[in-house]
């Protein structure tokens, strides 16, 4: 129950910036349009173009749920302001609290960011709507993608407990997610050994798998197996590191 209450508070807090986010959505849509234009120029009038337009715009929409989550799962901000002590006083762990806080924000982003950007893509760029049979599998893999992304952001938060500034870890996460997440480039266009490596890494679980399941180019079983494997590995690592790091926490502000 307490988890849901945290999520709801986080959801409502995000909603305070709705107008800002709607302006930002337009910017995000233009980014999607730029990538769509690059692909259209590359592929020309081939049958693959339509699928690629959909792939890019689905990714551009879900970026707000699978990549641009709250920086370091809100932890760096709490460290700086000193409010992390309140989280540590509560009768549940930091991981639990961070998860529901980010989940509330994630749900908000899905409704007010991902869906509007997708609708713009559907109306203006001719993105294919989801096939009924693939909608549930897509949402399932999207949720898993969110979990993976949350765990990565949580690691950035843990980094800031240790090193105080999250910027380096945050930058490194963005770079890796950008390069290996597959939001701009699906696995088959990667060169050499990266073509085989990229779909096996956890970064691909955030974008490449949900949008490929949407298009039906990757089987649901394969996507789920890989996502679940990485969720378990990263979750255990997060548990272990939380235990280790929260013992030696340094509070900056107050």
């Amino acid at each position: 129950m307490s988890g849901l209450a945290i999520a709801m508070t986080s959801f409502n807090r995000s909603r305070a910036y709705l107008l800002n986010h709607l302006v930002n959505n337009l910017g995000s849509f233009i980014f999607g349009y730029i990538y769509v234009s690059i692909w259209k120029a590359a592929l020309g009038d081939s049958p693959e173009t339509q699928a690629m337009v959909t792939y890019i715009m689905v990714n551009q929409s879900i970026l707000w749920v699978t990549m641009f989550l709250s920086r370091g799962a809100y932890i760096p901000q709490k460290i700086r302001e000193g409010t992390i002590v309140f989280d540590l006083l509560r009768p549940y762990g930091l991981l639990f609290c961070s998860f529901f806080e980010v989940a509330g924000h994630g749900l908000y982003s899905l409704i007010f960011r991902a869906i509007p950007i997708f609708l713009l893509g559907y109306l203006l760029l001719g993105v294919s709507p989801p096939e009924i049979g693939r909608l549930l599998p897509f949402l399932l893999t999207l949720f898993n993608g969110f979990l993976i992304s949350f765990l990565f952001n949580y690691f950035v938060g843990l980094w800031s407990i240790k090193f105080l500034s999250p910027t380096a870890a945050q930058g490194l996460l963005y770079m890796t997610m950008n390069l290996l997440g597959g939001a701009f480039l699906p696995a088959e266009y990667y060169p050499g050994f990266l073509r085989f490596l990229m779909p096996l890494l956890p970064f691909a679980c955030a974008n490449y798998y949900p949008s490929s399941v949407y298009l039906g180019t990757v089987s649901l079983i394969r996507a789920l197996a890989l996502q679940c494997f990485w969720i378990v590995v990263l979750f255990l690592l997060a548990l272990y590191m939380t235990e280790k790091l929260t013992r030696s926490i340094q509070v900056q502000g107050g």
């Binding site: 730029i34 690059i38 120029a41």
Partner: protein, 258 residues
Amino acid sequence: MRSVIALFMASLKAQYEYRLNFWLDTLINGANLFSDFLLMAFLMLSFKEIGGWSLGEIAIIYSIVEMGWGIFRFFGEGLHRFEELMVTGRFDLLLIRPMNTVKQLLLERIDFRRLGVVVEALAVAVFGFTASRIDFGDMWLAYISLVFFSTVMTFEINIILAAIAFWTVRNSDIIVLAFYSTRTAAMYPAHIYGPVLKNVLTFIVPLASVAYFPVGYLTGRITSIIALISPVLGVTALLPVTVLIWKLGLKHYASTGT
């Protein structure tokens, strides 16, 4: 001038205090933007050309826009985070000092970590000149001039966008919409876009005029001489607009208090 040097040194000292973080941030700043270019390079291993332009040629326009951005962020962090000054009411402090507000903003925080972006942009340019077999010997003056215009234009656009915060207080999402997206668009050949975005890049946020048009002319893809002089036209046309909007904003400014 003495105060300029003093503020410059203060920024350097403050950032160099956390050495490991400073070097990591600088490195990652450059690498982060490089990952965008790398993805483009991966794509072009399969296609060779995008809208008739090779990867090397795209690298040159990419680098011109990126370098302008890197130099802007080096000096312009105060402008870039102008919203914070508005929200906290700290802009009042700048108004009571006997120095031009824009100059103070430029010196407020010099972000040395952005040198990573400048180095990355330079590396992309070197790659571009090598891969496209354009002789850097003939082109270096043109490249440096275009980087200069790109920087000036990035400053102009960002002063205008900062000034919007005089009315709206918050402007970071407007920056995403009006600048981040157009900056990214200007890194690729503008003719691959539809007429709306192409016209925006030519006439409204005219970043195509500092990279795509002149490089298009120099590589023989665009024949009109206007393409060659478009950087001068673009930067000159934006200047009075920039000054006017900033001055109007200053007049309109009402502090939010602390």
